[in-house]
Amino acid sequence: MSKRSNWSIPYVIFLVFFVVLPLILVMVYAFQDAQGKFTLGNLAKFFTDRDALSTFAVSIEVALENTGLCILLGYPAAWILANKQYNKSAVTIVLFIMPMWINALMRTLATAQLFTMLGVTLGKGTLLFGMVYDYLPFMIYPIYNVLSKMDKSYAEAAVDLGATPWRAFWKVTVPLSMPGVTSGILMVFMPTVSTFAISEFLTNNKIKLFGTIIQENINSSMWNYGAALAFVMLIIIGITTLFDKDKDEEVEGGLI
C-alpha cells in the first residue's frame, strides 16, 4: 500500500513547474538587467525611487488600516454570528459570503459610482471603505469558523470561577480565537498591498497601490524592474507568513 504515496508525483511535478520555477524566475529577472547580466540595479532603483517608495509606504499604510478596520468590524460580526443566542441559522453567514460571487471589479465600480452619486469625493476615505467592503468577508469567515467550533465551556468555566463575562471574553474567548484572526489577517493584509485596478477605480486614479506599479512596469515591458518589485513583495510575504504558526501538525501516517 505504500505505493499510494506515489500518487502525488504528477502534482509535485506540476508544482515544481508552475509554482517553484516561476518564483525562481522572478528572482532571476529581478537580479538581471535587460541584457541578462547580473545586477543589483533593479533593487537599487526601487530603494532610490521616491515615487515607488512612497507608493510602497502608502500601500502598507492602507493595508494596515484596512486590516485593522476589518478586525474591528469583523470580529463582533463573527462573534454574533457564531453565537446561538443571536443567530440560529447558517444562512446569515452565507449572506456575508455571497457578494464575493459577484465580480469584484464590478462591485468596486458600483461602489465608486454610488459614492459619486452621493456627492462623496473619491479619495483615501472611499478607498478604505471599498477595501473594507471587499475584504470584510475574508476576515469574518475564518474567525466565525474558529468561534463556532470553540468549546463554550471554557468561557463558562471562567465565569463560574468568578470572572466577569467581559473579562472571560478577553482572557478566554479572544485568545482561543486567535488562529482565526491570524488567518483573517493573512487573507486581508497582503492582498490589499498588492491590489491593482481596485485602488484606481475607488480613488479616480489619485492613489496607487503597490500592485499597480508592478503591473505598470510589466505591461510596459520593464520586466526586470517589475520582477524586482515583485521580489520585494515576496520578501514581505515570507516575513508575514513567519508570524503564522505551522498549522498542519496533523497526525502522521494513516493508510488508505
Partner: protein
C-alpha cells in the same frame, strides 16, 4: 436589548455590503449609458443582453463564454489533479509530506499579482505564446491547492479498514477505488470543484497577466478594459443582476436541501 443591538449590527453590515449590488440591480432597468442616472423604466438592456444585440459590444457575450469555459476546464482538471494528489499526500510521511504541503500552500499565500507575474515570466522565458492554454494552466495552478485541502480532511475522516476490507473480500484495487474510495471522497471533491470554479470565475489579476495579446477576454478583464476606456457597457448591469439571482436561487436550494437533510437525520 442586547439581542436587538446584535441583530441590528449584523443587518447594518449586510445593508452596506449589498448596497452596491442593489444599486446595480435597480439601474439595470433603465437605459442610461452611465450607472447612476435614471432615464425612466425600460427592460431594453435585458432584451439587448438576451438577444445579443448590443451596439458593438458583442464581445461581452464572448467574454462570458470564455469565463465559463475556462472555469469549467480549470475546475475539472484541478479536481482530478488535486484528488489524486491528496490521496498521495495522505499516504506520505515525515519530511516529504511537509514539503509537498508547503509547496501546495504557496499559491494560496501568494497574492494574485505574484502568481500572475511569475507565470507571465515563466511563459515569456519558455517562449510559450499566451492565450487560452496559458490562462487555463494558470487557473489550474491557483485552484488545485483548494481541491487538495478540501479532499484531505475526507481522507483523514475515512476508516482505512473499509478499503482493506474491500480488497480482502476480493475487489481489485481499481474496483475498491471506484466503489469504496471515490464515494467517500465525493463530498470533498464536490466542494473542491465548487471552490475552484468560483476562484476561477472571480479571478482578474492572474488572467490579466497570462492572457497574452490575442485579445482573449474574460468577464473581469472585459470590465477592466471597459472601465479604463471610460463608461461601462450598460448591458453589464442586467448581466450582473441575472448572475446574482442565479446564485441566490442556487444558495436557497442548497440551504433548503441541507435543512431538510438535517431534519430527516433528527427524526431518525
Amino acid at each position: 436589548m442586547k439581542k436587538f443591538f446584535a441583530k441590528l449590527y449584523i443587518w447594518v453590515l449586510l445593508v452596506i455590503l449589498y448596497a452596491p449590488l442593489v444599486f446595480i440591480a435597480v439601474f439595470s432597468f433603465t437605459e442610461s449609458k452611465v450607472l447612476g442616472s435614471w432615464e425612466g423604466f425600460s427592460p431594453n438592456l435585458y432584451r439587448n443582453l438576451l438577444t445579443g444585440q448590443m451596439q458593438g459590444n458583442a464581445s461581452l457575450l464572448a467574454a462570458v463564454k470564455n469565463t465559463l469555459l475556462i472555469a469549467v476546464i480549470a475546475a475539472a482538471v484541478s479536481t482530478l489533479l488535486g484528488t489524486v494528489a491528496a490521496i498521495g499526500i495522505h499516504n506520505m510521511k515525515g519530511r516529504a509530506k511537509k514539503t509537498v504541503s508547503f509547496l501546495n500552500n504557496i499559491p494560496m499565500i501568494n497574492p494574485d499579482i505574484i502568481t500572475g507575474v511569475s507565470l507571465f515570466l515563466l511563459f515569456v522565458f519558455l517562449h510559450f505564446s499566451q492565450g487560452y492554454t496559458t490562462v487555463i494552466l494558470a487557473h489550474i495552478t491557483f485552484c488545485t491547492p483548494y481541491v487538495v485541502l478540501s479532499v484531505l480532511p475526507k481522507l483523514q475522516q475515512m476508516n482505512p479498514n473499509i478499503y482493506e476490507a474491500a480488497l480482502d473480500l476480493g475487489a481489485t484495487p481499481a474496483q475498491a477505488l471506484r466503489k469504496v474510495l471515490i464515494p467517500q471522497l465525493k463530498p470533498g471533491m464536490v466542494s473542491g470543484f465548487i471552490l475552484a470554479f468560483t476562484m476561477s470565475l472571480d479571478d482578474f489579476a492572474v488572467t490579466f497577466f497570462t492572457r497574452g495579446t490575442i485579445g482573449l477576454d474574460t468577464l473581469s478583464t472585459y470590465i477592466y478594459t471597459d472601465a479604463r476606456k471610460g463608461g461601462l457597457t450598460p448591458e453589464l448591469r442586467p448581466l450582473m443582476t441575472l448572475i446574482f439571482l442565479v446564485i441566490l436561487i442556487l444558495l436557497i436550494i442548497i440551504n433548503v436541501r441541507q435543512d431538510r437533510l438535517q431534519k430527516q437525520n433528527e427524526n431518525r
